[in-house]
Amino acid sequence: MNATLFATLVAIVKKDLLIEWRTRARLSALVFFSVAALLMFSFALGADIQTMRDHAGGYLWLGLLFASVLALSEAFRVEAENRALEAVLLTPADARAVYLGKALANALLLLLLGALLVPMMLVLYDVGLDGPLHALRLLAVVALGVFAISAPGTLLAAISTNAKSKDLLLPVLLFPLLVPVLLAAVKATALVIAGDPMGDAFTWLSLLVAFNVVYWALGFLLFPSVVDE
């Protein structure tokens, strides 16, 4: 008797997080890369404080987007190595649960990265927050955004993992799909940072929730066709 969908999901999340912990050097490199990207953007903008504040949200999301491509590609490299994913699917684990587990683990990794990058962004771009509630609202936007990146990212990383030019293929497939997500995430982040007297952020957050629903559902339905020939 094989495990239920939920038990499979939990086992895959635990496994992926354990591998991330074991390969902490990779995680450190990812953090370093993202911080370096934020620094580069701040250098490119020059010393204009107001411009930096205005664009802080955009640069935060660019840093997260570039880091996510590296993280997602790495998440499927460990599956392809030794054909470990095949052995998992032969148990026979439900491929949909494997998808949910991997996408959730990727989202948690990106969320951790986001939680590290937000304070960096605040310092580098001289953005002030009005207390812990303001910070929590910003983290909520980051959470919705990284979940919306992880869902299609995990599916496309699985598609591109066996391709010869997988490192090129993943961003080529992923970036166009993420344009509306990024737009909503950047707008929501900017509104949360600058203050939102008209309550416009809610519209963008609703859009992010909608993207999450669509992308997670699509991944759940399509992943078995991707991993089963």
Binding site: N2, A11, I19, R22, E81, N82, R83, L89, L90, D228
Partner: protein, 211 residues
Amino acid sequence: MSAQAIQVDGVSKRYGARWALVRTSLQINAGESVMLTGHNGSGKTTLLRLMAGLTAPSVGALRVFDRDVVRERQAARTAVALLSHQSGHYDDLSAAENLRLHAALLGRDTQAIDELLARVRLRERADTPVRQFSAGMKKRLSLARVMLKRPKIVLLDEPFGELDPEGMADVETWIAEERKAGTTIVLATHWIDQGRRLSDREVRLTNGRLV
């Protein structure tokens, strides 16, 4: 339960322009042990992967205990375990962690893991990351994973490869035990003497065709 464990019905498999398997038909009864022989690239691994439901036939149908391996993939896979060239392990996890993952996916108790690791002579290396294992040790761990599943059908792709004489003897003993217990075995090997000792009949593949 069907008397036929595996039914391969006119199966062909194409990779790009190359046909790896051509119009192959084969019936294997439940509890039977079949040795699959043939030169390198003759289609043995492809046939085993088709039986495991890891790849779909380009033409024809393949059933495992009356379950179609494409349409009823999940059910067909329940009956099958495959020991292949690739270890199927996560190199960054230890031997015990890899088995614990599979136990969780199988819904099995993790208490048997210690015993299984002892059986394949890896108990002392239970907490060592698989990345530090030799090829033979990885093969032993793969064998422990197959044992953990306790399948009705065991598909073995070169089970003696990369093993030392002690490991080969262990594998031979285990296959003999499984055969006695009534497990259906398909054994692809170049070790003809061992294979003949462990099988009821021999099937030969040449250039993707059954001879």
